[in-house]
């Protein structure tokens, strides 16, 4: 009788203990599930973003070729920012920063691309890839367009190039690119890029038939030099990003010129006499590149570089053994 009573007294204690253990298990698995699910959701978002930004992030591989455009569609109304860093020891890098929440949680370093953009908060972004030649091809410029732009007095060749490249994709990305001769015709909310008008958001000057010139930004006292398609890159970019990427490009140009210079001497010694003058011109070109400061206000350094570039192009054009 006493034993039975003792057993009955122990039963509720065991029941409680059992409930607590099972409850703890259920809670543990519930928390584990929630944690895993959140983690997987984060990974999924990152994977979707990486796939969307594949054009920018994949090294030595791009789904769009030079002289083409495409649209990047991000998962949600996202924020995209491009940073740039440059050192004397390498080609520098772009850092692609992306966020959907406000804080940049996702960033990736891109070393083989030259990405020009303003901070963008938009789902559909227009991407244009242009070649940069000075006078030989140096690299491709990747322009990210996420705002409406109005160009005033843009030279015909740049206007035609931009219109040809963006005519189908600009509408799809819901981006308006306007071309006028008077700034008053521009839409109010567009970023205004004007020739010789300092009252616009971006103002540029031209030299030698708009082969090169200077560019300045409304809120920035600094002036920068541009050459060829770099005008468009500068127009769609922030000043600091433009300066950094332009310096990276000039460094790449120097290295390519060194390779071409050695090749010109080698081919000349192999009997291709028509290229004999090229080596010395490329030598001059490298020296001139060394003296260029992209944030210089005077275009004289670019004027002499442009002359050398024209001479190089002339010699190469008539040579039997063309280098580029």
């Amino acid at each position: 009788m006493y034993k039975q009573k003792q057993k009955n007294a122990q039963m509720p204690a065991f029941g409680w203990l059992f409930s607590v253990i099972i409850g703890a298990f259920i809670l543990f698995f519930a928390f584990l599930f929630v944690f895993r699910f959140t983690h997987i959701a984060e990974q999924q978002e990152q994977a979707v973003t990486t796939t969307s930004l594949d054009i920018l992030l994949e090294p030595f591989a791009s789904s769009i070729a030079t002289g083409q455009s495409d649209i990047i569609t991000l998962p949600r109304n996202s924020k995209l920012e491009i940073d740039c860093s440059y050192s004397d020891f390498d080609f520098g890098k772009n850092i692609v920063k992306y966020s959907t929440t406000g804080q940049f949680r996702f960033s990736k370093v891109v070393r083989d691309k030259y990405i020009f953009a303003r901070p963008i908060q938009k789902r559909n972004i227009l991407v244009v890839v242009l070649p940069f030649e000075m006078p030989f091809r140096i690299a491709d410029l990747t322009l990210l367009i996420g705002h409406d732009y109005c160009f005033v007095g843009l030279p015909e060749r740049y206007k035609d190039l931009l219109q040809e490249l963006t005519e189908t994709n600009a509408d799809a990305a819901n981006i308006r690119l306007e071309f006028f001769s008077d700034v008053n015709d521009c839409s109010e909310d567009s970023i205004k890029v004007c020739k010789d008008n300092l009252n616009c958001d971006v103002s540029f000057t031209c030299a030698d038939g708009c082969s090169y010139g200077t560019i300045s930004y409304g809120n920035n006292d600094k002036q920068y030099l541009w050459y060829g398609n770099l005008l468009l890159a500068a127009a769609f970019s922030e000043p600091e990003l433009y300066e950094c990427n332009a310096n990276r490009l000039l460094k790449r140009a120097k290295l390519i010129a060194s390779i071409y210079k050695t090749e010109a001497s080698m081919l000349s010694s192999k009997g291709c006499s028509s290229i004999s003058g090229l080596s010395s011109q490329l030598d001059r070109y490298i020296t001139q590149l060394n003296n260029i400061d992209i944030s210089d206000t005077s275009t004289s350094s670019f004027a002499s570089l442009h002359d050398t570039a024209k001479t190089i192009d002339h010699i190469n054009g008539f040579a039997l053994c063309k280098i580029y």
Binding site: P59, F60, V110, R111, R137, I259
Partner: protein
Amino acid sequence: MKIKIKHQEKVRKAQIQIQEMAFVLVGLFLLFAFAFLGFAAWQTSLMKQQATSLRLEKATVMINSLISMPELACSKQLGYCIDEDKLVLFKSYIDKYELLFKSARINYIAVKRIFPKIEDSVECNSDNYPNCNLHVLYNKQDEDTIIHSSFAVLCHYDMFTGNRCDIAEVLVGIKPET
């Protein structure tokens, strides 16, 4: 007494039915578990196949991008090909490009002349090219490296014949993502 026996029989019958149901439930559970495992294995192999073909596609695009680098590409006049004269010179500048290749997980780049065929494997340098068949541009490969290849035209300037072109295989080693 009779009632007690009948009750015991009922209890036994119920126990057998419970056991039967438990066996059926265990059987069903095992059946679904095996079906799920089979499906998961099939999906995994499908994903692996897709990953392999995607990796191959990316490697091919990467090789094409490397070939069209201005440091290696032929002149516009010749079109899409590798300039062997540049290739020989590029070797001495390769350290400047190391970070660039590392960021793309590239740890081996070589160009192998496959036509005209040279019997022995002769590594090229500025003195013996084009009478050689292997240009090793960059070699930091390890045991994990997966070598991908693509074919390209390899051209050089010849003082007697002008530009002379051969067929080459471009080999690129990529370290897989961990």
